[in-house]
Symmetry: C4
Subunit: 257 residues, 4 copies
């Protein structure tokens, strides 16, 4: 129970796939980009990941149907000009505790590396200013100079000496370094506090350039709008709840028999 | 020691029982409803659950007698028109840490599923407004459409796309999904910061409708009043303690030899 | 490493000893009382307890000498009219995390119960008002009615229905209940934010009455004064440190290579 | 995975080395001093330490190259007049959780003690006032009187009865006490909120006096300046991020699918 449970839905074979991580983060930039890729390019889910390191809750979706906190693995074969195989990691959460992050990322990487991962891309958002920017930039960092050169060719801005990459987007690259798998992080510029379709589009365009595939981004806005509505509703309820808790000390109820 | 300790008080046989979770939460709505069921329908305690994931404390009850933080399992046989067997999970606490929540819920579900659980109901409160409402609604969510239909027939309001169900009321349903056990969450509308007998009554009426049994709710108010007094006293003492700690930095005393 | 390390300093034999817990807590009431007993009655240290659940630090004592965070076990033989054997648990800290509290208390109780513990007393402080009180009361609670009666005979105030006893003073009693060892908690009335010699004296007098031994409390004030000075110095330094951290964000330095 | 991973880069032999800990802390005083020693005296890295107890992130260094959170072990042979062998522990982080601190320090000490450690020195900063001081003092504490005497001879100020030494600088000394290895802590006086080259210089001069070696400190200022710039940049980005999170509740985005 203390370890990640990976349920395989389909036995597949892949040819040195590229592993793309896009779990929820700042502005949902990476998640939105990857969900769109899955939809547009017709990726297939082949595994579900469940972990006691996730937040201890379930989600209420459309029509009152309950869903677990989950990560999911999708695959795509023969993508773009270079006929690349891809594995995408998406989901509705990341591990909650620092050690849970290390544990879960390590077990997921071990699982996907059975396919002999060629490279890792991690997708996220990066905040440069509180105001929304007109033409969001895409920032990058990588585990080796060779990948930095590729980023420069694709006109990705190189981050330099500027702190850390926190969470799964950082840890997968760090674990990759330890296992000799090279990796790159792409971050779309975003104010971070709303579902940012423009940053996701900018990110996707750079990724498609780097991996040499084509993707239609017309429906990205639509998808962002849907997510926005769902979150607005959830935030309203959580805010009400916090107000009440503060007003009446609801927490104190917890321990009394 | 790092796992849940379940002490069996009576060996029983049950016929595909329904598992009802009602641990302490918002407005104590679920707990109050289940404690009342246990009392009115004469349920029998058959197991006690003790865990290092509970808050590290004991409770002082009537006449200075000390009690452990515990969860308890009760059973009822041949309830209502459908002669249902029920297992009720109640107690004075839930696990404290996120991973403790996952661990404890999983171990409890494994234990009760030795009786081949038919369905899971989790009972809780839901905050919609800071003001007490006149006729509290009952909200619902479920793990499958079939149960959503049953909720609609019972005129339970369906939550939709509105965030999460946190803690044991969520996790038991999520664990159920993974084990092929269907489940439903019922939530009584409550401001959340007092022991809410009216929300508990509304909840109980819907549950009795769904499970087809009759229950007298006359004494619910009385029970709520008792609990209210006990909590008021405890909160007063905790508040004094917090005031002092803030005033004089009592915490700093802890580490000095 | 993840468990408590108990170093036995002397192999001893005891006759159904009474186990007295007095780790640091509110107003240091229990600790001060027990340290005084050890000194006045000439108790002998027979074991040291070290645990990764303690705060991750060491203490700087007199003349710059460094000491570990430790709990210690002392024994006394043939105390008072009833020739009681006693084990006292003292130290400079308690476990830091909730699960650490459960784990450490359980392992210590297992260790001392090799001597067939007769009863448990846990000593602590209790805050009733922010102002220092002239004649501090002693409050009590117990795991069975028999002990409550003894408390009443000794004119200890019985707490009733008023919340919890948090930390080691609560957990040892709760663990005792589970192992069939009866126990009593004595709490000296204290504002909680200074080293309270008067509360410790009141507590000691009740304990000596209950266990039927005599003890001179003249030096308690002196001992409290020493501890007070040591703590004042430590608090001043911590406050400076916090001020600086807030002013300059010293925490941010931690992760930069 | 739950334990420290130590990668040996070079098999070495050392003659009862002195173990010097200098992980990041207040004012980066210890780290700066040790990094300078490594540079000036030409120390060789012989092991890298990776742990799930470190913060769950990676660092972006020069030119966008990503680096793991790591601790590193360097050695020096025949240092100074006394021909001492030294092991230096440096890195970009310490363990994050209290139990992680105990675990990681214990495993590192076990590893380096294969060389039969003679003594331990831990290097850190100490805050005495919010204003920068002109001639920073060096404070000390030790596990035995013999070492206190050596500190006094070197005109190090002895801390006395003044609270704790938190983190690796404290724990290594405490673990040393338990294993019969004597140790000393040296702390450079610093306001704590900037990279303090002057405090590091003062610290280094005392250490070189105690260990009887010579070291040129001319480039310490330069090194401090570089680190300062890197941190200023990182702090700016983190602050922007915090502002945004507070403004727009970015955290709430995390759990929505």
């Amino acid at each position: 129970m203390n370890t990640t449970e990976i349920t395989v839905l389909e036995e597949i074979e892949l040819d040195n796939p590229i592993f793309i991580e896009a779990l929820p983060g700042l502005g949902h930039v990476g998640k939105l980009a990857a969900d769109h890729m899955i939809d547009e390019l017709g990726a297939t889910k082949f595994a579900e990941i469940y972990s006691p390191t996730f937040p201890p809750q379930v989600l209420v979706k459309e029509e009152g149907i309950i869903d677990n906190m989950l990560n999911e693995l999708y695959y795509l074969k023969d993508v773009g000009e270079d006929n690349l195989d891809l594995i995408l990691l998406v989901g509705n959460t990341q591990a909650l505790s620092p050690e849970g992050q290390y544990l879960t990322c390590k077990e997921i990487l071990e699982f996907v590396n059975q396919f002999d991962i060629d490279r890792i891309y991690t997708l996220g958002g990066m905040v440069t200013s509180p105001q929304p920017v007109e033409n969001p930039k895409v920032f990058g960092a990588a585990t080796c100079e060779e990948n930095i050169e590729l980023l420069k060719e694709a006109e990705v801005e190189i981050r330099s000496n500027d702190g850390g990459i926190v969470g799964a987007s950082g840890l997968f690259l760090g674990l990759g370094i330890r296992q000799g798998i090279q990796g790159t992080c792409l971050m779309g510029e975003t104010p971070g506090y709303f579902i940012d379709a423009e940053a996701a589009e900018a990110l996707l365009l750079k990724l498609s350039l780097l991996l040499n595939f084509e993707i239609n981004t017309d429906k990205l806005d639509e998808r962002a709008e849907e997510t926005r509505q769902m979150i607005a509703k959830a935030q309203q309820m959580e805010q009400d709840l916090i107000n009440k808790a503060n007003a009446g000390n609801a927490d104190d109820l917890r321990y009394i028999g």
